[in-house]
């Protein structure tokens, strides 16, 4: 068996499993009887306790950050957490830029492509400045979603199946809906590191650390141990937010 033949095998073995025209009509008829949700609507039908805890923690996070202008609402849809940002972003001052991360200096850790995109990001965002020995930058990804948000991500690997990814995301003033995090089967804690509060959650071998600011976020993901996750978070430089 060749891997490229997987698709053909599935179709061949399950050739008797089709959706008839009659069934298609039936699905369309039944769907039409259901009300459509407005954009941004968040159904609470599938709300579960862990997600409610997350909602509470994000509210506490907003309060704890105090001077940092966090202004967002949190809701739950289909097992996902949605955070809606409002308000106006704060661009860094010249002094803050001078005190912040030198984009050129990032190239050694994150690679030149990432550093260049970071420099063009327009806003200085927090970033970890330490990644464990043996890990190297494997890929970077930059994308924009219309005038809604832009996201920059660097992925590190040690050559095995261990990976660490660092993602920064910035929402425009027009953005009314932003991040969606898959939360189920997770455990959740709050970590206080260098005066900043992270939501920490673990799903089997995957660990995530999330910090939310004013229309921006930093997310660190890794299938590494918890102590290493903490060390990475401790190394985060906060040019704009101190």
């Amino acid at each position: 068996m060749k891997l490229d033949n997987i698709g053909k095998s599935i179709d061949s073995v399950l050739s008797g499993m089709d959706v008839s025209d009659e069934k298609i009509e039936n699905i369309c008829d039944q769907a039409r009887q259901q009300p459509k949700q407005q954009p941004g609507y968040a159904s609470k039908r599938r709300t579960v306790l862990p997600v409610m805890v997350v909602v509470l923690l994000f509210s506490l996070l907003a309060a704890a950050l105090g001077s940092s202008p966090v202004n967002h609402t949190v809701s739950v849809a289909d097992g996902h957490l949605e955070v809606f940002f409002e308000g106006t972003g704060v661009e860094p001052s010249e002094q803050e830029k001078q005190d912040g991360i030198e984009p050129g200096g990032l190239a050694g850790l994150y690679g030149e492509s990432f550093a260049k995109q970071y420099a063009d990001f327009g806003t200085y965002m927090p970033l970890p400045l330490w990644i464990p020995d043996g890990f190297y930058i494997d890929s970077m990804d930059y994308s924009e979603s219309g005038d809604s948000f832009k996201v920059l991500q660097g992925c590190f690997t040690d050559g095995t199946d261990k990976t660490i990814s660092v993602r920064i995301k910035r929402y425009s003033e027009n953005a009314d809906s932003s991040i969606i995090h898959f939360m189920d089967e997770s455990t959740l804690e709050t970590w206080h590191i260098n005066g900043f509060e992270f939501a920490y959650y673990q799903n089997y071998e995957d660990h995530d650390l999330l910090w939310l600011g004013d229309r921006c976020e930093l997310k660190i993901h890794g299938n590494i141990d918890r102590d290493t996750m903490r060390k990475i978070a401790e190394s985060v430089a906060w040019p704009e937010f101190k």
């Binding site: 499993m17 259901q34 949700q37 992925c155």
Partner: protein, 163 residues
């Protein structure tokens, strides 16, 4: 207009989503429920998709389907449903089908959930690593690592299956 668009989605993707759900869940009745629920949810959230999602309709539908299968998988586990029999019966039903193909489907179905997701999206739905990353909400690197792991497991299984 949205009716036509929705009908096009169902016509185009229903069968492949049904088969994906079946390999994912290993139960024909559950797969049918999951496929229908995928389209009902897509109908309800159609306007959100049009307005905000920067991804293809296929990626979006697959994301919904996988989330539903994931939910079903968990509740199925809680109910202790034996899924193996149902999968065996259906995939072994047509004796004209080469054994190699049947075993391949069973082996994919037996993969851990996260590995099964990437194999189905990559090889069955012809999605790129980047599209899969968007669909699953993880980085392209993680998708690559999972694909590599899944390929390794399948190749080992197929070596053992070989006469």
């Amino acid at each position: 207009m949205s009716d036509d668009r929705f009908r096009k989605w169902v016509t185009e993707y229903a069968t492949s989503i049904l088969r994906t759900c079946f390999v994912y869940l290993g139960d024909a009745a559950l797969a049918e429920d999951a496929m229908q629920e995928t389209f009902f949810r897509a109908w309800r959230q159609m306007d959100s998709f049009r307005g905000e999602r920067a991804q293809s309709e296929k990626s979006w539908l697959m994301r919904i389907a996988i989330n539903i299968c994931h939910d079903y998988q968990r509740s199925k586990w809680n109910r202790n449903v034996d899924t193996g029999r149902s999968l065996d019966e259906l995939s072994m039903g047509d004796s004209s089908e080469p054994m190699e193909n049947r075993l391949a489907v069973l082996d994919i179905a037996a993969l851990p959930e996260k590995l099964k997701q990437v194999i189905l999206l990559y090889y069955y739905h012809d999605m790129t690593v980047r599209e899969i990353a968007k669909t699953l909400g993880v980085s392209p690197s993680i998708v690559s690592v999972r694909l590599k792991k899944a390929r390794g497991i399948l190749e080992r299984m197929w070596k053992e299956d070989a006469p």
